[in-house]
Every structure is written in C-alpha cells, then in structure tokens.
C-alpha cells in the first residue's frame, strides 16, 4: 500500500516537474509547479510528517506560488513565449545533462543502506517540531525572523518607483 501510493504520487510529482521545465509559457510552468508541490505534500504525509505536509500546502503552494502568479500575471503572462527559442537540440541536450548528473549522483545514493527501515518513532507530531524549534533551534529561528524582515524591506525598496 505504501509503495503503491509512493509510486503514484512520485510519478505525478516527477511528471509535473518535467512539465515545469518543458512548458513554453511561464504561467503553465507555475501551475505545474503547484501540482508538483501538492504531490510532494502527499509524500510527506506518507513519510508521517503531517506538519510539513500542511505547511507545504499552505505556505508553499498557497502563499509563495500566489506571489509568483501575481507577478507573472502583472508582467504580460503570455508574451513570455517569445523568449523561448525553438532550437531542436535543447530537448536532447537537457536529457543528456540530466542523465549525466544522475549517473554522477547515483553512487552516492547507493552508499546508504538500501533497506534501511523506517524508525519506530511513529508520527513526528507538531508538538515535537515546536519543542525542537523553540528549544534547540531558537537562535536560528530568531535569525530567520530577521531574514524575513530584511526580505520585506528589500522587496519594498526594490519595488518602489524612483521619484
């Protein structure tokens, strides 16, 4: 059952990911990425990480992708197809690049014990993550709040029209 669900959602996410790269129009790329993120959130549920799955849908597929779609709609969404050149060799070049990288990465992946079984700890609930964030990781957590603040200020200053 678990492996069937894994292969179902894994295939969906992989096809959506390839569609992100293959689409000519960036608007459709963004929609494909949303599908990919939702399939990944199902995989997180399969890995017994419900908090991460919920955050994935709410923050990633919700907030961040809506920001992307806002900007894409603002900047002329369907004219962007002009950017892609219709060179035939780009598709085969991407396949060659991908297989090269995969053959480079696979030996490292195989170095992990293949049939490492899932730990018996069960579901890592929100409580354990909250305790970890506010206890062990409290300094990085406060640093991320500064990072977000800097991001907001930077976005406002960059987006402001020069007088």
């Amino acid at each position: 059952m678990e492996s069937a669900l894994f292969y179902l959602f894994g295939t969906i996410s992989l096809i959506a990911a390839i569609s992100v790269v293959a689409q000519r129009r960036v608007f459709y790329s963004a929609l494909s990425l949303i599908i990919c993120l939702c399939a990944l959130s199902a995989l997180y549920l399969l890995l017994k990480a419900p908090f991460i799955a919920a955050v994935q849908v709410i923050v990633y597929a919700g907030a961040i992708m809506v920001l992307f779609l806002f900007v894409i709609m603002m900047l002329d969404p369907f004219a962007a197809a002009r950017l892609t050149d219709k060179k035939k060799w780009l598709g085969s070049l991407s396949v060659v690049l991908g297989t090269t990288m995969l053959t480079l990465i696979l030996p490292f992946l195989s170095s992990y014990p293949r049939n490492l079984m899932a730990a018996q700890a069960g579901v890592v609930g929100t409580e354990r993550i909250g305790r970890a964030i506010f206890d062990e990781y409290v300094l990085p957590f406060e640093a991320t709040s500064i990072l977000i603040l800097v991001g907001i200020i930077g976005a406002v200053i960059l987006g402001k029209r020069r007088a």
């Binding site: 990425l33 900047l75 780009l90 490492l116 700890a121 970890a132």
Partner: protein, 99 residues
C-alpha cells in the same frame, strides 16, 4: 519500503530543476526551477527524518521554506524592477554583471 526510492525521486527532482536553471531563459522560469531544486532537497530531508527517527530533518525543511519565501519576495521585486527598466524578462538581455 526502504529509503532508496525516496532518495532517487529527490535526486530526480533536483536534476530536473538544475537542467531548467541551465536551459531556461525567462527569469521567472529560472526562479520556478530553483524552487523545484529546493523541494527536491526537502524531500530527502523529510525521508531521512523518517528513517532515522529524528526531528531535525523536518526543522531544516521549515527553515528552507522560510528562506524560499524571503528569496521569492526579493527575487520577484528584482524581476519587476528589471522589467520596468529594461522591458525584458530574458536573462540574455540582463548580462551586464556577467562580464
């Protein structure tokens, strides 16, 4: 089932994202491919968190999401500024910093 399929899927997502970053010309498409790479890394974080029985992997995914949100905000602001000043979204027309 073992951890290996999850790691392979995560590597595949990362590779698809990398190929997109290398080949795409549209700035926003490159951003989307970077998000794809981040998600590939996130998947292996969560898989290791599950298979080692620790919480640290999921805390790292949380931080990666925060960084992705900040990056998207600043990057899209830069994109809007680029479009306003140059009327283009192509990375080939904005290569003044490259040389």
């Amino acid at each position: 089932m073992g951890i290996f399929p999850y790691l392979v899927l995560s590597a595949l997502l990362f590779i698809v994202g990398t190929v997109g970053v290398i080949l795409k010309k549209n700035v926003i498409a490159i951003f989307l491919c970077i998000e794809l790479m981040l998600n590939g890394a996130n998947l292996s974080f969560v898989a290791f968190s599950r298979y080692l029985g620790q919480v640290h992997g999921q805390v790292f995914v949380f931080f990666v999401m925060v960084v992705a949100a900040a990056e998207a905000a600043v990057g899209l602001a830069i994109t809007i500024t680029l479009y306003r000043n140059r009327k283009t979204l192509s990375v080939d027309d904005a290569d003044i910093m490259k040389w």
